[in-house]
Each structure stands twice: as C-alpha cells, then as structure tokens.
C-alpha cells in the first residue's frame, strides 16, 4: 500500500467510522441473540491490503479508540487487534490470495482468534470467580460466521476506498483489444473496413 496524506486520511476515516458503526449499530443489534463484531474483520482487511505494519498500526488504533469510547482499561483491545492485524498482514506477505473466498475465510478465523484473545486478556486481568456459560462458545462461533459475510462486504468496500493506494490494483482498465473479425472483408464494393477511433 502506498501511503500518501489523502490515503492516510481515508484510513483514519475508515478506522473512526468503523468503531462508531460498531458501537452505535452492530453492538446494539442481535441476530440469534448474538451481536456481530465488525472490528476484527475491518482490521483483517486493512492488514490484507497494507501488510503487517499497516495491519498492526490500524489494529492498535482501532483498539485504542474502542477502549477510549467504552471507558475501558486502555491497551487490552489494542493488544488483541494489533495481533489480529499483524497476522492478516503476515498472511498477505507470505501467501498469494488466489480465491475471493480467502479474505472472508480469514476474517472468520481471525475474528474467532480475536474473540478468544479478548477472553484471554480478561483472564489475564482477572476474570474473578465468575462462572463461564457454555453459551460463550455459541457466541464465538456465531460472531465468526457473521464475520465471514461482513468480511466479504468490508473487503469489497475497502478495495474501492483504498484503490489508489493498492499496488496490485490498477487504477484504470487497460485498453481492451478487439478480436479480429472472422468475417471476410467485403472488398468487392470497395468499402474500407472500419477501425476504432478512425
């Protein structure tokens, strides 16, 4: 990813917009009693487009903003999401993305990883002696499945938003080559064949 000031501004807007959308919309809706978590998918897609450094920095920023807005201890979400972004970036640097299914599958897997990570951070900080319901597993699995579909949409959307900065993405389509016509030229009437732009 080629980082220029306009692209940086787009990245900041994406991060801020994503966090606000998560807190104001996704966290407050429930499908099958589970709220989708869009932030790990957002970080994964940014990591896939920008590599390890962009993924890690965006993950850290998303986590920090999230903790600030939730008035939670700073650093917990940053730690988890920076690891998520870094892993996504690492995947991009090590492997080719051959199939359009790869980004959503990666969003699904890394969302599961991130949700486990949030739990691990909470355990590290002391989960007290509260019992953990088995419904947590259902919650984690459903969040991951939601992330598959959300990842698809986010990948498509961010590819448009960040297109000028993407190295692999050409900014304009190459001129299409016309196939030569198989029909014989009707030269008997003396007409010259048409050519594009003539």
């Amino acid at each position: 990813m080629i980082l220029t000031p306009p692209i940086l501004a787009r990245l900041v807007a994406t991060v801020v917009g994503g966090v606000l959308l998560q807190l104001s919309f996704f966290s407050q809706v429930a499908l099958f009693h589970v709220s989708p978590d869009v932030l790990p998918s957002l970080v994964v897609v940014l990591g896939l487009f920008g590599g390890t450094l962009t993924g890690a920095v965006c993950g850290f920023s998303v986590g920090l903003l999230l903790d600030c807005l939730l008035i939670a201890p700073l650093g917990g979400a940053s730690l988890v999401l920076l690891a998520t972004g870094y892993l996504a970036g690492l995947f991009r640097e090590r492997f080719e993305i051959h199939s359009p299914l790869v980004p959503p599958l990666l969003c699904m897997g890394l969302t599961f990883f991130a949700e486990l990570g949030f739990g691990a951070v909470e355990l590290m900080l002391g989960l007290n002696d509260a019992s953990i319901s088995t419904l947590v597993i259902r919650d984690l699995l459903l969040k991951s499945i939601f992330a598959f579909f959300l990842g698809w949409a986010i990948y498509a959307l961010l590819r448009r938003v960040l297109r000028p900065a993407l190295v692999e993405e050409p900014t304009a389509r190459p001129p299409s080559r016309r196939r030569p016509s198989r029909r014989p030229l009707r030269s008997s009437r003396g007409r010259r064949p048409r050519t594009m732009g003539a």
């Binding site: 890690a56 201890p73 002696d129």
Partner: protein, 282 residues
C-alpha cells in the same frame, strides 16, 4: 534496504506491543483518565447523533431476531398470563395494605425509586462488542450529576451501576458483567445471597451463598438486599427488583447453596435506562 525495512517493521511492532502493555498496566482499575475523558467528550455528541440516526436500522434487524424469538415465547407467555392473573388479585390487596403502611410511616414516594434518590433518564449510546464484557455507555455524565457507583435501573428492574464517568457520558457495568456481584434477597422468604453472572448468558444468573434452612421456590422474586455493616454498605439501595428464580433444585440448594435467577431487565436490548443519582443511605 529490505533488512532495514524489516528492522523498522519489527521495531514498530515491538513498540506497539510494549505500548499496549504499558497502557494496560497504567490504566487498569483507574476508571477513566484524562485522555479517555477527552476522547469520550469529543465523540459523545457524534455517538449520540449516530445512535439516533441508526435506530431505525437497528430496530429493523432486531425485529427479525425478536420475531424468531416470539414464536417460541408465545405458548409460555400464555401460561404465565394465567398465573399472573391469579396473582394480580393478591397483589392488589397487598398494594392497598402497602399504601396504608406508607402513610403510617410518613413515606409519600411511590416506591419505584428508593427514597433519597433522583432518577435521571439516560439513553444507551454504545455497547461493548465482545461477549466477555457487559458494559454500556449512556449519554449522561458528571455534568448531569452522575457519580461513580450510582445504581442504574430500567423499567423492569436493576441493570447495573456506574463504573466510570466523564463530562457527558458514563460507563455502566451491567449486572451480567463478570466483575458484578449484587447482594440480594429472595422475597418473601428473606433468604439472602450474592447474585453473580454466568459469563456469556445474561439471562441466567446465580444466587450463591444461600441459607439452606430457607427453601427457595421457583418463581419467587429477587430484590437487592441493601445491607450495611460496620463502615461498609451494599452499592445498591434495598428492594430494587432484580429478577425471579427460574431453577431451584433442592439438591443444588443443599449441595451448592445456590439457585438460578433470570433478570427482569432485558440486558441485551437496553435502550433507555434511569441512573439513580444523589443517593443518600443515611
């Protein structure tokens, strides 16, 4: 050149990791610091606008979820309605008696809000996205008189307490959060215990450390006990409704001294709550 890039990348990564741990160490258990207060103050109006703007879309998505849910609940609600009708007669008599007793002791409150408290209506503007935390942010803060520790209720019952506060917003830790523990008692038999959540399932809470001599039955109500001892007191005022006992197996009561409680408040779908401010338990 490539090595230099790799080295720089590693340095940034190490810096971010160390920064995260440092922030975690510094801010854990501190409530809210200056940075958070500043960011929360800046974003609070934006969040409020976003919350209102996205409400129709949220309602639409939630409508689908609730429609699936409603089909299953229909039969159960019919049975509960029958039961409630039978109880209503008894409740009316108790209310009349209660009104007379209140007059006798000079109380003129309706009883919905504990004496000495003012109810401040607040809108939920954000909600924690992970299953491990049960926090919401409301659009009232220290500027409105909200203080850390204030109880928060909804129309149905106890919701949680204020854990941190900024100028225009406050973080409410719900009773379903793993850090929550509410001193509660069962009415009418008076058995007391500590109500703790089951992480990941806000509809199932566990009332622990019950007195085994008092047998608890399914359907009995649970309210805050509001105890006070030498220099310490419960965070919540007494008699705030919390929920009802949904599972009270005798074996579990005798062996583990606990029963299962379903909260009255729908902790997953909170829209408007009331912060009880200015409470004086004197």
């Amino acid at each position: 050149m490539y090595r230099k890039q790799v080295r720089r990348r590693r340095a940034v990564l190490a810096l971010l990791i160390v920064g995260s741990f440092a922030l975690l160490s510094v801010t854990y258990g501190q409530g809210s610091d200056g940075v958070q207060r500043g960011v929360a103050t800046i974003f609070s109006p934006i969040q409020s606008v976003a919350d209102r703007a996205l409400k129709p879309a949220r309602d639409l998505v939630n409508w689908f979820d609730e429609t699936f849910d409603a089909k299953g609940k229909n039969a159960r609600l019919h049975a509960e309605l029958e039961e409630a009708r039978e109880q209503a007669v008894g409740v009316k008599a108790a209310l009349a008696e209660n009104a007379q007793l209140r007059k006798l002791v000079g109380l003129d409150e309706s009883g919905a809000i504990p004496s000495g408290y003012d109810a401040l209506t607040a809108r939920v503007i954000t909600r924690s996205p992970t299953v491990w935390f049960s926090d919401v942010t409301v659009d009232v803060g220290s500027g409105d008189g909200v203080e850390v520790g204030n109880p928060v209720v909804s129309g149905d019952g106890l919701v949680g307490h204020v854990a941190a506060v900024t100028g225009g917003s406050a973080k409410v830790t719900l009773i379903a959060d793993h850090s929550s523990a509410v001193a509660a008692k069962i009415v009418p038999n008076g058995a007391q215990g500590i109500l703790k959540p089951s992480v990941g399932d806000p509809g199932d809470m566990i009332l622990e450390y019950l007195d085994t001599e008092k047998i608890v039955g399914k359907g009995q109500s649970v309210v805050t006990s509001g105890w006070r001892g030498e220099g310490i007191e419960s965070r919540y005022p007494p008699n705030l409704p919390i929920g009802k006992v949904v599972e009270a197996a005798l074996t579990e009561q005798e062996a583990q001294h606990q029963v299962h409680v379903e909260p009255f408040a729908d902790l997953r779908n909170l829209d408007v709550v009331q912060v009880l401010t200015g409470g004086s338990r004197e």
